[in-house]
């Protein structure tokens, strides 16, 4: 017993207590700062309030999607459908408003509920039909994209009122559009939920081991259903935000954005195995992708080469994270 005690006590360090599965946020944060410093030297336009606001505007949609993806990845799942669900929600809102005579505020709510319904279907396929999350959301990805196109036979919806587009374009207090404010509020709520609510902590337990969580009295199926439903609803919120930004609804919107979303969450320190992740990390991941796109544009790097750079950053970030975890 004495040897055991001797081997364990040194780990009690003077460092402040931090829950290990909040994920190491420090690594991605250092990466983000280095990127910003680098671009500041490379481009005279990068380091300005105006550009910072631009970046926030550009990452709003990705960021809102990434909140839902963080929850899904923490419980050990994956959601490939968010891009298509975004398009379907967006088209549903536009179609209801333009052809159904539904007042726009109600159409917005129904658009978000469309996203939630898609998430609920994914959740049911996973919990009741026992499909792997990858397959279930792959199926919904195809179905939702199809439905998005069927609604208007592939045509875009235009003609939104000014007050709607103003949500994304008018900067209150000189910097804060309603959509960016919404993004920040959602981030804060999700961060508090994951860190300070028992239900949030239970998501980590489910991702750590669904069986252990079940035996500890957690209703794993209910949590799974609700998590995918929230991810779907957030895709609906992102759809409304994007429609305001684009001043239209496009059935091709959000093509491939699910992969950017997953990348942002993983760069932020989450593990695809589940049980690890944080909103702070995800925010940093989202900003890294946003800063890279923005900075590379300012420097004049072609979009094709940007794809190469972003891919390399994902691989580097995760490799770095894995190595530092193993060293611990």
């Amino acid at each position: 017993m004495t040897t055991e005690a001797a081997s364990t006590t040194p780990e009690r360090s003077s460092r402040p207590f931090r829950l290990a599965f909040d994920g190491g946020v420090l690594g991605p944060l250092v990466g983000l700062v280095l990127l910003c410093v680098g671009f500041s030297f490379a481009s005279e336009y990068f380091l300005s309030v105006r550009n910072a606001i631009n970046i926030l505007d550009q990452v709003t949609v990705l960021g809102i999607l990434a909140i839902g993806m963080t929850l899904v990845i923490i419980i050990g799942g994956i959601d490939l459908s968010v891009g298509s669900v975004l398009a379907f929600s967006m088209m549903m809102m536009g179609w209801l408003y333009q052809f159904g005579g539904v007042p726009l505020p109600i159409a917005m709510v129904l658009g978000i509920l469309t996203g939630a319904a898609c998430g609920l279907v994914s959740g049911c396929l996973i919990t009741f039909a026992k499909l792997p999350a990858f397959i279930a959301t792959l199926a919904i990805m195809s179905i939702a994209r199809g439905l998005a196109n069927i609604l208007t036979d592939g045509r875009q919806v235009v003609g939104y009122p000014d007050w709607f587009t103003n949500l994304a374009t008018v900067r209150h207090f000189g910097f804060l559009s309603v959509t960016v404010a919404l993004f920040i509020v959602l981030m804060v709520i999700a961060g508090i939920f994951l860190r300070y609510r028992a239900t949030g902590r239970n998501l980590f337990a489910i991702g750590g081991s669904a069986e252990v969580a079940r035996l500890a009295g957690i209703d794993v199926r209910k949590y799974t259903l609700v998590t995918y439903t929230i991810a779907g609803a957030l895709a609906g919120v992102a759809a409304v935000t994007l429609a305001a930004r684009l001043n239209s609804s496009q059935p091709s919107a959000g093509l491939g954005i699910e992969l950017d979303t997953i990348a942002a969450v993983v760069i932020g320190g989450a593990s695809l195995v589940g049980g690890v992740g944080s909103i702070a990390g995800t925010l940093i991941g989202v900003l890294i992708i946003g800063v890279l796109r923005n900075g590379l544009n300012l420097v004049g790097v072609s979009p094709f080469f940007q794809m190469v750079v972003i891919g390399a950053v994902i691989a580097l970030a995760v490799a770095f994270d894995t190595m530092s975890r193993n060293k611990n």
């Binding site: 005690a5 006590t9 207590f17 829950l19 902590r201 252990v212 209703d219």
Partner: protein, 499 residues
């Protein structure tokens, strides 16, 4: 066993075989001969080293030291394939079948029959069906294995071994999943093999089978060969005594007789999978109730059902006289029933998470208020749990890095925080070293003294006997009686567990 016997020119000779896994010695200087055409039964308690010995003979694992000869020549197989090329095959205790393939493909896997450069399915099916019929299984060999019942799968495994045309076959608990009729057919086949000069090593817990099938009996205890009988005509009682032998005094705490009221009473419990049937017993406050039996007797399934994890087909559960229906672990927890599972790593612990979070999960209602939990509260809760059970570690330490004994204490501490009425422990000291065992026994005794009812399921007879006020023995899903503290001896339990 002081003098090494001479090596025989025919059959298998095992000389001074030793096997260690790290510091743990599981086999110690085994000398054994298996002559052509004879069936040698190898007996022993769980963990006596039977499966290790058969794995060494079949080339699955190498011995740490010692040697074997086969028909007079040195025999040191480096793989099961090499053992097979010498004519030595193993039928696994756990089935190693490919569920998506047909019976015939499973029987001939790795050595598919070929004709003109193509797979000869017709011949494979024909030969497989011949073997299956000999074993009493009359189904087409084209059936997928996943469609078969467990007993039929076991028969496919045996059929596979019979087509190997081996000279020595090792049967590791072949009848664990078989019924009486199927067992008879298997014995007919072993008799046929014997007549053809094929040797067999027969490992089983079912002592009554041994006399029918074996020519000689070897008894293992704690990794050493304690007796070899040149006849199978040995009284069951004597074999049991040889198997359990020692009466090592372990540090079991003094446990006063229970005086409290009845906490749990179950009546006619039958599992939805029929893995236990018509079980009735009751446990009082302050009582430690042991459940003994061999692997597969239905012990774990029974206590899982009481803990609300698996469904019941029939029977009633009453807590403090009140009938309850437990359909989920949450129901059981709310009713004051907690379970410390057998599979700590798969069912009890979040290995990648700190001690504090492990004890807090499932207890967030106690950690914080109205669904709010601050990290500092989680840490304080963890520190409290660590103190309560004397866990060697800090709240932020990852559970996966703790020793088995400390991990077990973390799980116990987690559930003690709920002040449960009934604590179920399934194999509480599996994989726990001796020093930590005494502490866990101490903790179990304290639970009882604090007025909880405790159920201990264990394959370790010393443990069940040393801890329990009463012991129920299960065999093949049925109760073989409840023994009072005085009458629960090794022999009394093993006799009931193996019939």
């Amino acid at each position: 066993m002081t003098e090494t016997p001479p090596i025989t020119a025919t059959g298998l000779s095992i000389r001074n075989i030793t096997k260690s896994f790290g510091p743990v010695r599981v086999l110690e200087g085994i000398d054994l001969d298996i002559r052509p055409g004879e069936c040698v039964a190898v007996l022993g308690e769980n963990g006596a080293g039977k499966s290790t010995l058969s794995a060494i003979i079949a080339g699955v694992i190498p011995p740490s030291s010692g040697e074997m000869t086969w028909n007079g020549a040195p025999y040191a197989p480096r793989s099961p394939a090499e053992a097979l090329s010498h004519g030595i095959g193993l039928i696994h205790q756990e089935m190693r079948l490919l569920p998506e393939l047909s019976i015939a493909e499973n029987v001939f896997v790795g050595r598919l029959l070929m004709k003109n450069g193509r797979i000869d399915r017709r011949e494979m099916n024909r030969r497989a069906e011949v073997q299956l019929r000999r074993l009493g299984l009359d189904i087409p060999a084209t059936t997928k294995v996943k469609a078969l019942r467990v007993a039929a799968q076991q028969q496919v495994e045996i059929a596979k071994a019979l087509t190997l045309e081996a000279s020595l076959l090792i049967f590791d608990e072949p009848t664990a999943a078989l019924g009486g009729e199927e067992t008879d057919r298997l014995f007919e086949q072993i008799d046929r093999l014997k007549a053809e000069g094929v040797s067999s090593v027969y490992i089983s817990h079912r002592l009554e089978e041994i006399a029918r099938v074996a020519d000689r009996i070897a008894v293992l205890r704690d990794g050493a060969l304690v007796a070899v009988h040149d006849t199978a005509d040995v009284p069951v009682r004597q074999l049991v005594e040889e198997m359990v032998g020692r009466s090592v005094e372990r540090l079991f705490p003094d446990i006063p007789a229970p005086t409290g009221p009845e906490v749990l009473a179950v009546d006619g419990l039958t599992g939805a999978q029929n893995d236990f049937r018509d079980i009735s017993f009751s446990v009082r406050a302050g009582e430690i109730f042991g459940i003994a039996g061999i692997v597969g007797a239905g012990r774990t399934e029974l206590v899982r059902a009481i803990a609300g994890i698996d469904p019941l087909a029939a029977g009633t559960v009453r807590l403090a006289g009140e009938a309850v229906t437990l359909t989920s672990p949450r129901d059981a927890l709310d009713a004051g029933i907690v379970m410390v599972p057998e599979d700590r790593k798969g069912q009890g612990l979040l290995l990648g998470m700190p001690i504090a979070d492990n004890v807090a999960v499932g207890n967030f209602d106690l950690v914080g208020n109205a669904g709010w939990v601050r990290p500092s509260q989680t840490r304080a809760f963890g520190a409290q749990a660590i103190d309560s059970m004397g866990v060697k570690g800090t709240p932020e330490q990852l559970v996966g890095r703790l020793s088995g004994g400390n991990q077990q204490k973390v799980i116990i501490a987690k559930w003690l925080a709920r002040s449960p009425r009934l604590v179920i422990m399934d194999e509480p000291t599996r994989g726990v070293d001796v020093g930590a065992r005494a502490q866990i026994y101490e903790a179990i005794a304290e639970l009882a003294q604090a007025g909880m009812a405790v159920i201990v399921v264990s394959s370790d007879l010393d443990e069940v006997i040393g801890l329990s006020h009463r012991v129920m023995v299960l065999s093949r899903g049925e109760s073989r009686g409840i023994l009072e503290r005085g009458e629960a001896t090794h022999v009394a339990i093993m006799e009931r567990a193996t019939t």
